[in-house]
């Protein structure tokens, strides 16, 4: 069983399934790359008021996550925002 699991995890079929799940979340959300870019720029503008962030390293995407109430899997906007200078935020 352990061996079977090992192969299942590595199989390209599961890679395909995971990739599809992700791409379909953003397809279904009907979120165009232009809108995503606007959201990204707005987030940069808002957060930059308070903290110096790495604008190049900022990454946002629509993905899926387990809902905390028991609705199962729900779409979520995931943002990875690296902070450049935390000191200035203490001001």
């Amino acid at each position: 069983m352990g061996l079977l699991d090992f192969f299942k995890k590595k199989g390209s079929g599961n890679i395909a399934k995971d990739r599809l799940k992700l791409v379909l979340v953003s397809d279904r959300a009907n979120c165009s790359p232009e809108i995503m870019e606007q959201i990204k720029n707005d987030i940069i503008a808002v957060i930059s008021k308070y903290i110096e962030i790495d604008q190049e390293g900022l990454d946002i995407k629509i993905t899926q996550m387990e809902s905390e109430s028991n609705n199962g899997v729900v779409p979520a906007l995931f943002a990875n925002i690296p902070i450049k200078d935390l000191k200035s935020s203490k001001k």
Binding site: F7, K10, S12, G13, L20, L24, D27
Partner: protein, 262 residues
Amino acid sequence: MGEVIVVTSGKGGVGKTTTTANVGTGLAMLGKKVVLIDTDIGLRNLDVVMGLENRIVYNLVDVIEGNCRIRNALIKDKRYPNLYLLPSAQTRDKNSVSPEQMKKLADELREEFDYILMDCPAGIEQGFKNAIAGADRALVVTTPEVSAVRDADRIIGLLEANDVSQIHLVVNRIRMDMVKRGDMMSSEDVCEILAIDLIGVVPDDENIVIATNQGEPLVGSDSLAGRAYMNICSRIEGEDVPFLDLNEKNGIFSKLFGKRKK
């Protein structure tokens, strides 16, 4: 009153026409009166898959434009007297027909036939809109590949937006050897992703190529794919048929004794 079923997929080359030919022929074998309509104007194919390409006189656009009566354009199948084909036009384009006209045609055919099967073109443009216009039910065909499943998902969204109430999934060209070693999504995987009811799983079977070469649908034959198509027909008829064990041909025993089964 007959039922209008559209066979669609979004992506090209996943087996819409083959599915239409086999499901249509299978329903005729079950004693139903069936008409197959090739809605792919400009890229006519259902006629050659059915082996009826030499009998075409009039086509879909002729009927729509009133150049002939419906009965003049319908080609009677050479194997089953209750099976007909309405071929597409080869020299026209998709804008020759409107969704309203297709719906009207479908409603006329409902009076006379038990099943009207629309073979939809690839894509989501005019041809797709024409094909789904009068449909009560959709068979969404996909293969277990990321591109085909993604397109199928888009199609399902469009079908729902156009009030096609029953949407069923056909997973085509499954290779059980690849599924077993984890290198292909299983029909369950595809079904889980697309979240619609599964109505058929058709294995990748070289008999399909042979049958298409000969212009003979293979539904009803003893091949795995032939049986898979027949099961889809029974399920359309409302029967609760268990899914085939697609592994059987890969076993050493069935390879050795496969012939005996017949």
